[in-house]
């Protein structure tokens, strides 16, 4: 485990640094915004106990709302990505800062306040030279609590495409890659410790220095953002996003290369691991994302569920394309060759020995062997329950297992048959073969770029570029590329580029 974490560190260092940067920025901006609001409100209410306490109650109520619910509630209002993530984090950071600031400002020895009044000091002198400095240690401890909470909660930002270290955690869960999961968790914990320590150090600094430091950080931050903003807005940027995992990331990078190759004036920004299907679909409808790869099966089964789904890939694609145009006004460009759908896999040696090529072949000998299935696959009608009837399968025993464990079980010869996805890198890693669905039971899952039509009208080059992938990339190609990214830890961009050059889709 430790080795694989270290390996991850080496191979993914750029991604890790990017995620760390995103995470820090996300947390920092959120705490800063929360601090400005919370401290201002505490100052505003410090002489109005009733209002101050009402605010405290409100802050407490906000704190009890589960963070996922907050994120969910924000999507229809502000869409997905960084903005809702920051809003949610600001809400979480608000209460500790407000509570501590308010108590710091109001629990000052009343005789000191009376003294300040007696000497005829101005309001601003009393606030900035007396009340705030006296409340400072409490304010800082509130900031510390807020920072730690936010750094922890910010891992959820990955769910809605906000980026950050949560990306590793989500990917780890998705791929059953514990090293990745741990990496994300450890880094966010470390980050929390470092920031907590930094704020503790700050509490030892005098009030004046503190103000100087905070303003310096603020000025730097504002400067950084302005520069970034100016640089970004000077070019035409197209946003390409993808779901969690290596496959969408490889495809995104291919889109980027192809578009930039076709029209060098266009600049493509990639947003990998942008959350799950629903988030991404909302994002493209809200025009926060211009392009992302989607599967025909997902369109027909999840986004717009159909009663009958054709088992002919071509018909399924056309249905999906028409529905997307009609209901969402989105363009669905030509699909690639491979499908990423359910499959049944066995060890290569096992297949050879029993001459297995199709699921029908397997049905003949199924009564002698055991299988391990993912629980979703086992329960669903379009999974094993339907498959069983179609092919007349009768395994000796069926174990329901975590996706990752069932691959481990078959690799170690403990089981003979597993379910999987047709492009899973484990098929290559564990030397498995996937059996042909000769009766066409599984609905087709063909990948194709889903695009915002406005961008196509504006830049017709994009359509030309993306259509170069039409009919390209076989299942074997995709398994290999997933293998190179997930197991060999190569960069998705390198893998994507290599494929495009090899297949002469771009010039070197």
């Amino acid at each position: 485990m430790l080795n694989s974490i270290i390996h991850l560190f080496q191979s993914q260092s750029t991604n890790i640094i990017n995620a760390l940067e995103e995470h820090i920025l996300l947390s920092f901006v959120s705490v800063l915004i929360a601090a400005v609001i919370a401290i201002s409100l505490a100052i505003l209410f410090m002489n109005h106990r009733k209002l101050g306490n009402i605010m405290l109650q409100i802050a407490g109520i906000i704190q009890t709302i589960p963070s996922l619910a907050v994120l969910g509630a924000l999507i229809p209002l502000v869409g997905i990505g960084t903005v809702p993530a920051i809003i949610a984090l600001v809400l979480y950071a608000f209460m500790p800062i407000y509570q501590n600031t308010y108590s710091g400002l109001t629990n000052i020895d009343p005789s000191l306040l009376e003294a300040a009044e007696s000497f005829g000091l101005s309001k601003s002198f009393r606030l900035f030279k007396i009340r705030l400095p006296l409340a400072m240690s409490e304010i800082l401890s509130g900031l510390r609590v807020a920072m730690v909470t936010v750094i922890g909660t910010a891992t959820l930002a990955a769910l809605i495409g906000g980026g950050g270290l949560g990306t590793f955690i989500m990917q780890g869960i998705q791929n059953g890659n514990n090293a990745e999961l741990l990496l994300g968790a450890i880094l966010s914990a470390l980050l929390a410790i470092v920031f907590s320590w930094l704020l503790n150090e700050l509490s030892k600094v005098s009030f004046k220095k503190l103000i100087v430091i905070v303003s310096a950080i603020l000025a730097l931050g504002v400067g950084f953002f302005t520069v970034q903003h100016i640089m970004q807005s000077s070019e035409q940027t197209i946003t390409v996003a993808g779901k969690l995992g290596s496959e969408p990331e490889v495809l995104m990078n291919m889109y980027k290369e192809l578009i930039e190759n076709e029209d060098p004036k266009l600049k493509v920004q990639t947003k990998p691991n942008f959350g799950n299907t629903n988030f991404l679909f909302k994002a493209i409808k809200n025009k926060q994302v211009d392009i992302y790869p989607e599967f025909t099966g997902t369109v027909l089964e999840t986004l717009h569920p159909q009663k009958v789904v054709s088992h002919q890939p071509g018909i399924a694609y056309n249905d999906a394309k028409n529905i997307l145009k009609r209901k969402d006004n989105l363009d669905y460009l030509k699909p690639m060759s491979y499908q990423n759908r359910y499959t049944i896999a066995v060890r290569r040696g096992f297949a050879k020995k029993h001459h297995l090529k199709t699921i029908s072949d397997l049905a003949k000998i199924s009564s002698k062997y055991s299988a391990a299935f993912d629980s979703d696959f086992y329960q669903q009608h379009d999974g094993y329950q339907g498959l069983k009837k179609k092919y007349n399968l009768h395994f000796v025993k069926i174990k329901v297992m975590e996706p990752n464990l069932r691959y481990e079980a078959i690799a170690h010869n403990q089981i003979s048959v597993v379910d999987g996805y047709t492009t899973d890198p484990q098929l290559k890693a564990d030397n498995l073969v996937s059996l042909k669905d000769d009766e066409s039971f599984f609905p087709p899952y063909q990948g194709a770029p889903l695009v915002n039509p406005e961008i196509l009208n504006k830049y017709p080059a994009i359509k030309t570029a993306l259509n170069k992938l039409a009919g390209k990339i076989t299942e074997k190609d995709m398994i290999n590329m997933n293998y190179e990214v997930t197991i060999k830890h190569e960069k998705a961009s390198t893998v994507a580029r290599r494929y495009l050059i090899k297949n002469k889709l771009i010039k070197k």
């Binding site: 005789s111 009376e114 003294a115 007696s118 000497f119 005829g120 030279k129 007396i130 006296l134 009030f207």
Partner: protein, 308 residues
Amino acid sequence: MKSKLQFKHIYVTYNKVDAVHDLNLEINSGELFVLVGASGCGKTTTLKMVNRLQTPTKGQILYKNQDISKFPLRKMRQNIGYVFQNIALFPNMTILENAAIQLRAKNVSLSKAKPIVTRLMKKVGLDPKTYLNRMPSELSGGQQQRVGTVRALAADPDIILMDEPFSALDPISREKLQDLVLNLYNELHKTIIFVTHDMNEAIRLGTRIGVMEHGHLLQVGTADDIVTHPANKTVAAMFHNQRSANIADMIAGGFYKLVDHPNDQQYIRVDKGISIPQLAEKLKSNPIIFEGKYLITTKDLLSFISEN
């Protein structure tokens, strides 16, 4: 002496109870006026009305014949020094910053305030070099209250309010600080209004004393007046201890000789009623003559003490 501060029919009422009831009082310019009474008698409330930390429910306070409620509040307060019962130095500021605070309220820069504070620090017996840059927590209670006194004097106010300033201190520090107040008063001749519950302190410090109970001002007069001619039984009871420790009691008890040679230079002359400890202090050097005719010696004092 011109009357400076006048309380006219002042009432302060909380929940229908009078904390101060029909207070009429004139405090003269340059006077060290002591308000004395048990806690809750209304003396601090009275004090706080002077700088408008407390607003009277009814009545009027005049300063130089002008209603103080008409003065701009901050400006008025900048001209009133205040020494607090619990000292109330700001823990986040150095001694210099604390002492200079009223000067800074008057927009005097810290560098201009420093020489003023330095001079006053010397006056109260604190070495400026040692203390100016320290934090209040590094000083003893007595030292802190000396700083508190410097703070009240620094802006050269017309009036200084002292609210039980020494009640939290040990007896030795208290006595030293009482001496300090007397010295400063004799030197600067500021108007000082001093609140205490300690009759001893009142007698020791006050040029005049106002005795309060349950919001009523019972009597105003010099220490002598009050001790020898209490206005009523309550005042008499309050000052009973002080009475028993008075030189007048020795005379009444016959612990004296009549003077043969009243002009003899070796005797110390005393004309005012003084306490027994004050008397003992003086007798350490020479016998004294009281009111020009009673000669009191150490032996007389010892006999008085042994018999009482």
